[in-house]
Symmetry: D2
Subunit: 337 residues, 4 copies
Amino acid sequence: MAKIKVGIAGATGYTALEVARLLMSHPGAEVVAATSRAEDGKSLAEIHPSLAGRCDVPIETLDPKTIADKCDVVMCCLPHGASAETVHALVQHDVRVIDFSADFRLSSLETYEKWYGVKHPWPQRIGNVVYGMPEFFADEIAKADVVANPGCYPTSAIMPLSPLVQAGLIETDDIIIDSKSGVSGAGRSAKVATLYCETNESISAYSVGNHRHGPEIDDLVHRIAGKSIKSLFTPHLTPMDRGILSTIYVRHRGHTAAEMIQCWRDQYANSVFVNAVDHLPATKHVAGTNYVQMTARDCGERTVLVCAIDNLAKGASGAAIQNMNVMFGLPEATGLA
Amino acid sequence: MAKIKVGIAGATGYTALEVARLLMSHPGAEVVAATSRAEDGKSLAEIHPSLAGRCDVPIETLDPKTIADKCDVVMCCLPHGASAETVHALVQHDVRVIDFSADFRLSSLETYEKWYGVKHPWPQRIGNVVYGMPEFFADEIAKADVVANPGCYPTSAIMPLSPLVQAGLIETDDIIIDSKSGVSGAGRSAKVATLYCETNESISAYSVGNHRHGPEIDDLVHRIAGKSIKSLFTPHLTPMDRGILSTIYVRHRGHTAAEMIQCWRDQYANSVFVNAVDHLPATKHVAGTNYVQMTARDCGERTVLVCAIDNLAKGASGAAIQNMNVMFGLPEATGLA
Amino acid sequence: MAKIKVGIAGATGYTALEVARLLMSHPGAEVVAATSRAEDGKSLAEIHPSLAGRCDVPIETLDPKTIADKCDVVMCCLPHGASAETVHALVQHDVRVIDFSADFRLSSLETYEKWYGVKHPWPQRIGNVVYGMPEFFADEIAKADVVANPGCYPTSAIMPLSPLVQAGLIETDDIIIDSKSGVSGAGRSAKVATLYCETNESISAYSVGNHRHGPEIDDLVHRIAGKSIKSLFTPHLTPMDRGILSTIYVRHRGHTAAEMIQCWRDQYANSVFVNAVDHLPATKHVAGTNYVQMTARDCGERTVLVCAIDNLAKGASGAAIQNMNVMFGLPEATGLA
Amino acid sequence: MAKIKVGIAGATGYTALEVARLLMSHPGAEVVAATSRAEDGKSLAEIHPSLAGRCDVPIETLDPKTIADKCDVVMCCLPHGASAETVHALVQHDVRVIDFSADFRLSSLETYEKWYGVKHPWPQRIGNVVYGMPEFFADEIAKADVVANPGCYPTSAIMPLSPLVQAGLIETDDIIIDSKSGVSGAGRSAKVATLYCETNESISAYSVGNHRHGPEIDDLVHRIAGKSIKSLFTPHLTPMDRGILSTIYVRHRGHTAAEMIQCWRDQYANSVFVNAVDHLPATKHVAGTNYVQMTARDCGERTVLVCAIDNLAKGASGAAIQNMNVMFGLPEATGLA
């Protein structure tokens, strides 16, 4: 069988590099095109020296038709707003797209435009694009022209919360999500705030009460579990490259942590990447992998849930490869560790 | 005026080193003795090479009378249980003691013995030793024979919570404290769990729902604010040497974050080391200093409080120097930055 | 074709974990046994939580016959001395062995016993075991019963130096190797010196002039290039998990850095993992991979060579998998990225 | 005695922050002015949140006369070229200046213009400004209108090399300096190359054979020791905030490492900040301090020297405070730890 031909739009960032890195050892897919306006004319290996000698794909300026002609699927790693425009153009040229931006994740146009502060360039598709979490939406992903790749923080919260909400094990109106992310989540653009000496040896909260991933979490748990929730989400910048740990405080309805772990094991019995574990997971336990580790602990009237993922893998590029596998009929875990 | 003569009992750990480091530039005090059974015969600089050429105090095995004769005050950096015994012996030889362990922090013997799992060696003093937080207990500290130096996590929670509880700005029965600490908090003994490659590039929760600093927080807020509280405390191990960030989720009683910040500014108007700030503090903003930075943010029915300290400084050895200054009539900030 | 059955002796350390991690996504091999006296009765995933849900191999106490019966090859991750004894016993039970220790790397028994300070338990095999560097010894590795897996530092020095010495481009008696390694090279045993707070935010030289990898470098370059060399090797402990960067100062014989790079490109034309690059390599460029990046710069009468590897991958476990592939007739890069 | 009034020109960077931080606890000096074109109108604490509540000096755009009127001395933390112009203007308004740039460090105009690629704005002063290393030039510093504050790497090489060259213990034409610096040395401007995720978990060489600190080292050793030397200098970017470790390979002239250590002890007997130590120094041993630790090890015909400093303290701002103390007649170590 011919390999899936993959294009990467917006090839300079960390998620793009992670896609390329993962595809280097994927037996059924290969990078055939990469785009960046700023780096046009260089090769992918020149802007990502870890690919030296392993990948000679040239960087080109994105032309939707050219890319669509070369590729079976495009990983669109562009910023929100810009991404939706590109996705629109690519789809019109009949290539399937996995969109890393938030442009098609939310089900409400109003929520999108309020939180992202832009006019949506393709509002017709809002509410009409599958959320790229194969653990819940594999059938739709298999047929999709566009997949909205999940946000990193939302992945770490949706996966533990949804089954518990659906099963009625926890209260839906008192959920606190305290998340800690590695610095790669902030992207690869030159900013003082993410210089080494600003973030090293330091942890801090940011966007308290107003981070855009808050509404994404509530929206998706609602779509998956069928019940609306109200969460309070606080992200923290943590001095490490990769990883998200979400510590989630919920009120149980008389159920134990052990019952919640069992609920997850039932829900995710066929999900190769989701492990409900007994130990307290650390982000290092999943670093560089597509795995999710989660556990629960009894704390009086509350239960504390802890979930660890790699923000660049299951929180971005690993999930994208998993989605691609589903879209093209490969086993979900192909090329992923 | 003669310099205060300081002894350090249990000189091999990080808090002991931090005491020595701070005293190197203290104009009114000096290290005159240091003890460690394991390192008897070496010098303090041999076990802490950062003191090379700056401190030639020899390490000796602790003999209470010998130490008491040489010193005006002893910084007791021993583990709980062992510490109380030593404190008892030192006090009997008429030397004042600042105890870094938890042995005299709690007001209830029963709580102590339940959480620490040992018989207390000097139970008569439980409830009868001042808590070494000069922001609240300066008068008692000035006269004390023994000062219970506060725990690191408790400091980061008690300082923001107490004024708000006392002023009735927040509910007392729904407080979630999500704390992140640097690795030095785990001490300097050889354990696989705190090896570089275990903790670097990783964040994890530990002792969820059963960390000993939980009851200390509740006890002290009660003593300071005059109202009992019920908090849920979760510590996290963060890949950095120093610093604690506590993100605290409270329910307000109709008051804004701005009002809480003002409440702190009023409470701490004369406390040189406590800054209620407008920005979101990072642990790096207070690293190596005795300062506390705290702020608040409105989040619907909840308010998020964020407090940053250096766990080795204001969370341990800096507070001890501050206590020593108060005990010996020096300005509180002498020798501290 | 049946999968290669792999045993791991000494399964608690970082190289053992890296072998297990790499084999999780190897299409032609699988871990079937793992041994550790200290952890007998647990599972591999219990002592390495990153394997949770992915590997349920139980830990057993090493019995050579039992292991030999189950396995096609054993990765022996034991300390020197102990390793040679185990290798001997395993080979007698007809299982092939890849030995991670230094016990069979040197060609001289006298050198071994002088530098390692032990009687060699199987001296007959000294000088008679292939060095596991398929770039030079693939034919012998293919047939070997025992392979001496290379040291991490030596790999980073032998690979750039050998072709240049062989081609006569550099002086052989004036070679300075300044190497910087991540902390995982120091192993996973509980020691104060490799605690997070000792090594984080710090770089230091160690074993100056007397590290055991010095003679290994000289010996192997001699065997590969046919000329004896005299190098001065200095290792440094660097605050990162993984990676070795060796900065090597040589005297050229009138040749340019460009000619040296070309010499490498010729030598390693068929070596999939060795890249002579134009940029200055960073350890991050090869982290988590089996690749070697090396370059050269003109500096007057000297040339500076810079070589980056991952100490756990190409410097240990990746090389071992590469050797295994060669031993069992698989393409050299199978399962490696 | 009135406090020394200090101005900081170019107040946004790390060396400026370190000057401010050190002056917070200096008993005889205080920051009275700070300049930055980009941040005019903010306060120093706004751009450096670690100063919150401790320093309310406003940022102004640099006007030489205004600053000169307010200050006794200006710490000029501007980039090369721009710095010399400002120094010139300030000196004309009769304020003393400590210049952090390289503009007045070299003794040859030709060397300066070749390596820095700019026309020097005040060439008359080249060769006529004291190098701010009180260990060698205290008398001149005491009287100076302008002090050229030393480079960070040069400090770590000049201090161990100069006494040995002067005493004739080492060859002068075969010196290799392999230096490792923390990332703060690269400054605080927004660049991709010094983002956290680029430099964390990675070490790399840069500017191999052509770093500007190479000629500074050779020039200063010549001026101090009276003999010209020829060194090869290679800097490395190391994943830590602060610190420089220089590993220096020299050829001895029949002298032992012990004799070299003794030579240093004699030379630096009255230098409070220089410690010739027996242990191998780590950068952590001097982090946050103005101390220098250096040692030597015998390695056959070569000797390996190892020197550790804090690049922001003794390598920049600590040295500047030390120079200021000397300029204004205070004890050299005032306010420094």
